[in-house]
Symmetry: C2
Subunit: 290 residues, 2 copies
Amino acid sequence: MAESDILRRLRSLPLHPGALGLADDAARLDSFVLTTDLLVEGVHFLPDDPPGDVAWKLLATNLSDLAAKGATPEGVLLGMPLHSRDWDAAFIDGLDTALRHFGCALLGGDTVSGGRTYALTAIGRAAIAPMRSGARPGDIAWVTGTIGDAGAGLAIARGAAGPERLRDRYRRPTPRLVEGLALAPLVTAMMDVSDGLLIDAGRMASASGCAVAIDLTRIPLSDAYAVWSGDRIAAATAGDDYELLFALPPGVTPPVAATAVGRFAVGHGLTLTDDGVPVPLPDRLGWLHD
Amino acid sequence: MAESDILRRLRSLPLHPGALGLADDAARLDSFVLTTDLLVEGVHFLPDDPPGDVAWKLLATNLSDLAAKGATPEGVLLGMPLHSRDWDAAFIDGLDTALRHFGCALLGGDTVSGGRTYALTAIGRAAIAPMRSGARPGDIAWVTGTIGDAGAGLAIARGAAGPERLRDRYRRPTPRLVEGLALAPLVTAMMDVSDGLLIDAGRMASASGCAVAIDLTRIPLSDAYAVWSGDRIAAATAGDDYELLFALPPGVTPPVAATAVGRFAVGHGLTLTDDGVPVPLPDRLGWLHD
């Protein structure tokens, strides 16, 4: 079944009001924000990825959903398949490093004797939890950090030549928790860029009932990526950036380092420009499946 | 790595105070109780189990942890691998039935394209959340319902002759939510029987710093089980009952249907009697792995 069919069926289940119609990345329960993610071997991590990096990524991808809600991490529940003594020990060591790095703590979990699927549920506290659906025509679309590094990093992890710095952006993403907390009171909409800037910008526009135009030349690239390929279409359609995409009214300056990449408008759909000149959309806007 | 080694390592991670030292089945966060469980194909369900029953079991086993805390279900987060169109549709239909049956709702989730591991995190609200560690010498050990049906049901699901009623006790367990809510203010300790009555009673005694004696002849058996085999040792060491095991001070009568099966005492360890006469413990007290 296609993911869209599954989502439609899941939306027909009895939904908690805090599920927000399953239209966002995280759920609300009182002042808590909750999110859950699975990491599957061969899909979300490679069999020879270092176990510490898998643990980091498991935590970081969940915390990225909290960051998009301006939430402060409170704790996580871990679902861990037992694999081999050394791998499991290195995984837990890596989780230890990652939990301490992000000021997070283990709340509970479950260990099982089969499968290579890791599950994490992360819980955070948020005073204001922006949704992806609040962007208004005229708002400016901004992103934190640089885009495309993780896409290059995946190619490098798979054997392409390239610097470790890019590979590590794929293996050890950084959830923008500090930025999310500072942005939450100001933004009209916010989400993390997990499937690709173009597809995620289109989703924000669609959820907000407006159109969005992204300018390719404004997409922020790292120096390392510019040297590695500098391909802006590849950058804008690669996944795993875990930067924040957010909408601000015109004239509002973000309180964190960020780059204006486009503008929301009346209408619907995503359009792309290259230094202001309309260009056709690529066939693939990002990962259709996470 | 053995599960005990893993648990020791996990306990060395930064723990949230609500993790309660990872010594219990569920975590606390303000007035919420949280638990997470993985169901792995070939380990926790059989490849030819009906998908609706897998969904039921996924929800029921998590809600059983909430029942042991006297918690009322608030919502669940689902981690779902996509398998095949028909299987996935039947799974979601089964989840719909189970959610409505237990008055629960979906809060959020994640779908992935690989693996056969289902993850569920359940969140409930509890005014009082008993732990497994509060039993005192002299307290009486009680269980709800009947013991051993699910063990027989697993054998029947694997091809042994026997009634559907027993098989369905394995496939569609009933979390004792109503009983847990009524018992929570009265018990000194409570947990669900998931790995076997003997092993779980021993765990409750160990966590409580006392000994426990279980009397085989007092273990409540269903009529169907009595006809199927009536083996009390098999019943007391089979898993998947999802009944509640709880400790009450002597003289306190439980407000729900339950059977006194033993008594806590000064000391440590589990002892077994048969109509009051000490008998040796079986080699296997239950499932060492869930």
